[in-house]
Symmetry: C2
Subunit: 97 residues, 2 copies
């Protein structure tokens, strides 16, 4: 069910518009499903990205699925800590133009 | 479908543990469904709250639904701006103790 990595946009510390462009580009190149992933504080930005794409650029795109989970991350000093994550799947019909 | 306001926890700028306690308390008082809502940067914290409740305090609770949307908010100077929001519904069986 999960989109391949080619269809995944990992949201991090760059400006929101970078990720919006990445998702829109995926759809332009014919993807029917794009997975937006983020961890920690970037989760809010991932929701912004999904909402901006859906409302401004790909109005036929729908939120097909949202899931949240907890990931274990290793820090540089060898300890592990937990961080929340989100996956938002946007889907749209194949491009008819 | 939406839980009544009594079952809703609005996540804002307080520490995460405050909201975790609020959700756990709802379940303790017999709620079978608690709605966790947040806007803007607090969205990441809302996901943390849901994950912490589910993993540590109410292990039989499940994420029944997650939805995202965009809300229009009026600022003090009368202008409106848009902000992303999230609603996470946690549900569990009625308390059997």
């Amino acid at each position: 069910m999960q989109a391949s990595d080619q269809n995944t946009v990992f949201v991090g510390s760059k400006p929101t518009s970078n990720y919006v462009l990445a998702v829109v580009t995926q759809f332009k190149f014919g993807s029917t499903e794009v997975l937006i992933k983020a961890r920690g504080k970037a989760i809010s930005k991932a929701v912004d990205v999904a909402e901006i794409v859906r409302r401004r650029y790909a109005r036929d795109a729908e939120v097909a699925d949202i899931s949240i989970s907890t990931e274990e991350v290793a820090s540089n000093d060898g300890r592990t800590f937990r961080v929340s994550s989100i996956s938002i799947t946007l889907s749209r019909q194949a491009d008819r133009t």
